[in-house]
């Protein structure tokens, strides 16, 4: 686990990264298909420009198709924006998983921006009242246990 990561709330995952670029530019990268196509796919995975749809306003869609460079398998993802506040915040919900993703853009200086990703994993089963307790914090601890087992 890198220093950027923290599991700091019961049912949430957070990641952050600091970029040497102004906040407005970093924000534009996250909503402009011409930019997204260059980084949306992780290592070894492309995100073709012509298959990215961004309608950055509440209720608008955010669709991408990630294509595995090695075997061509495709991972379409559809999300709907919940909140768009340029240049400080983007929030969307992934339609298939119900995952809520919030991205905050924090200006640390004129040319320095921290991007904070905040994900809430809320499958149907976890909406039950008994499921309020923190599970990710516990899972994080389990990694320690399991490390000792293998």
């Amino acid at each position: 686990m890198s220093e950027h990561d923290a599991v700091d709330a019961p049912d949430e995952l957070r990641f952050s990264r600091v970029f040497d670029a102004p906040r407005e530019l970093v924000f534009r990268c996250m909503i402009d298909p011409d930019h997204l196509t260059h980084f949306w796919g992780p290592a070894g995975v492309s995100a073709p420009r012509d298959r990215i749809t961004v309608d950055a306003r509440p209720g608008g869609v955010f669709e991408t198709v990630m294509v595995n460079d090695a075997d061509g398998s495709q991972y379409p993802t559809r999300a709907v924006y919940d909140e768009v506040r340029e240049p400080e915040l983007l929030a969307w919900t992934e339609s298939s998983s119900g995952m809520q993703v919030t991205t905050e853009f924090v200006a640390l200086g004129p040319d320095r921006t921290e991007v904070r990703i905040h994900q809430r994993f809320v499958p149907e089963a976890l909406l039950a009242p008994e499921a309020q307790a923190g599970f990710l914090t516990a899972l994080d601890r389990f990694e320690g246990y399991l490390g000792g087992l293998s």
Binding site: M1, S2, D5, L13, F15, R17, F19, D20, A21, L25, V26, C29, H35, H38, F39, W40, G41, P42, A43, V115, I117, Q119, F121, P123, E124, A125, L126, A128, E130, A131, Q132, A133, F135, L136, A138, L139, R141, F142, E143, Y145, L146, L149, S150
Partner: protein, 125 residues
């Protein structure tokens, strides 16, 4: 091992309960009988059994049919599957951010003196 979405949901749902997490933690140190698992909790055997059934259905634990006290066993692969999901998600953002970092560096690289002249009019678009 790939875990089906359904299986993953079941694992997370099972782990959403603090008692069941404590049971899984205990089993990570070794197999245990229902009686042994009930000990640290202020809970009846039927109460513990109910939690064990949920864990069993989620695939996180298994129970031997043959032994007299039917010890519970943690299925490490199933738990790993749930943990993998979190790790995979973290890697996804890490790798995206690596690429975004490179993209931003490209965009902000100063125009070299020998390169093409900066098209100043574009700044006003």
């Amino acid at each position: 091992m790939t875990m089906t979405e359904e299986r993953l949901d079941a694992a997370f749902a099972a782990l959403a309960d603090p008692t069941r997490r404590a049971i899984v933690s205990r089993l990570a140190r070794g197999d245990a009988t229902v009686g042994e698992l009930a000990e640290p909790f202020d809970m009846s055997l039927p109460g513990i059994s109910k939690h064990l059934k949920v864990l069993e259905r989620s695939g996180l634990i298994s129970r031997r049919r043959d032994a007299q006290f039917r010890p519970c066993h943690l299925e490490v692969d199933a738990l790993d599957g749930a943990l993998d999901w979190i790790g995979t998600n973290r890697d996804l953002w890490d790798e995206r951010f690596d690429k975004l970092d490179a993209l931003l560096a490209d965009m902000r690289r100063p125009i070299s003196p020998t390169g093409p002249p900066n098209r100043k009019e574009r700044a006003h678009e």
